[in-house]
């Protein structure tokens, strides 16, 4: 299972490279920046792992690549316009991703910041809130982009509302799944499996080296 997901991730990343190259060769640059950016973002977990020894759960890595891949492929092949609901699927994907990353960060904060303690029900509620707020922030971004540059990112009220609805759904699912996950795995264990401690040591090491140089 682990190997399969990794292989699929690599294939999707290769597809993003292909999209970028094809765009440059055929002089059709609309989706090249998005493809390149998505590719870079999809590489972040590997970079974190190599340089900081910070390990995200591999399902999460896969989810990151898949969300970015669907976004890029949907844009290039016009699936965003052709398939009704494509927009909402990618929205739900990316907001569940945001929710999951938020979850990881909040659990880490819970463990490392002495003055913060977040019990599980609160954690779930907070993730739902956080995801919805990020969805709202995203829509505000699209709206201001439309107003300032005259682009056409928002299709209308129904579309905006459905986007938010799907953001909310994704938040609910991840929030509840996350809280459920922590029933069996203690926050301490979960954070340990991310190897944040090693990452901290690494960062401290890097900062120490910088200081020596100066």
């Amino acid at each position: 299972m682990k190997v399969d997901l990794k292989l699929i991730s690599r294939c999707m990343q290769a597809a993003m490279v292909a999209v970028a190259l094809a765009g440059i060769i055929s002089d059709n640059l609309t989706w090249v920046p998005a493809a390149v950016l998505s590719l870079l973002v999809s590489l972040v977990p590997s970079i974190l792992r190599r340089d900081l020894k910070l390990v995200l759960p591999f399902e999460l890595n896969f989810w990151i690549v898949l969300a970015l891949f669907l976004h890029v492929i949907g844009g290039v092949s016009g699936l965003y316009d052709k398939v009704t609901g494509w927009d909402h699927i990618t929205h739900a994907m990316s907001s569940s991703l945001i929710a999951a990353l938020g979850f990881v960060v909040v659990v880490a904060i819970d463990k490392y910041v002495e003055s913060i303690h977040l019990p599980r029900p609160f954690l779930a509620a907070f993730i739902i809130m956080f995801t919805m707020a990020m969805g709202v922030l995203w829509e505000i971004m699209e709206y201001s982009n439309d107003v300032l540059t005259g682009s056409h990112l928002q299709y209308g009220l129904t579309d905006t509302m459905l986007d938010l609805l799907f953001d909310g759904f994704a938040g609910f699912i991840v929030g509840i799944a996350g809280a459920h996950y922590l029933v069996n795995v203690t926050p301490e264990h979960f954070v340990e499996s991310l190897q944040v401690d090693q990452a901290k040591k690494k960062i401290a090491g890097i900062i120490g080296k910088r200081r020596k140089k100066n």
């Binding site: 977040l118 809130m129 709202v136 922030l137 928002q154 209308g156 009220l157 905006t160 609805l165 953001d167």
Partner: protein, 218 residues
Amino acid sequence: MTGGRLRKSPFEGRTPEQIIEAEISWISSLVLFFSTVYMVLKMDVLWVTFGIAAISLYLLPILRLRDPFRALPWEMTLLLTAPMLLHVSEGSRALMENVAWWDNFASLAFAFSLSTLGFLLTVELQLYTDVKMNRPFAVFFVVMFTMAVSGFWDVGQYIGDILYDTNRLGDNSRVMKNLVWSLVGGIIMGFVYALYIKAMSEKRRRMLGFIHLWEVRK
């Protein structure tokens, strides 16, 4: 209950200004209560939810500490009540039609009251549950809470519009402006509350007694 005779009257030993402050707070809460009842009669589910949430957060410290003077500061109660009054009153509707920026003003008032709810949540969660937050996290919580609730609010209104075949939400740009104001209002109030607690006099803070999470630590 230890019997009314043994307990001294809650008014004993209060300065006149304390009594006036508490009275303004109680009156505002009554306004909140009656607007909520009015919303129940009009079957306005969203506003009823809002009213009940606000009233519960208002009553919780009073009931827990058995002291009517532990009412919220009057200015916070007014902030909570304002958007509901704006929503209820006919005068507001006339202004909405005639004054161009009234809609934005109402949105901002709503954002202020949502962030006040968020602020109260941070305080009361800290007091009555295991939740522990520090100040930066609490500011972040207030901002996130304001935006998230406006988001859910608009979705709720949208669903209501579809179910009852009404059009209370308006067009996309109106909704988006509303959300922009909720972002602005949330960020403003997140920091305003941090400053507010800092600026509040020691005496008053001790009297209100329950805002310790946001208190200035020396």
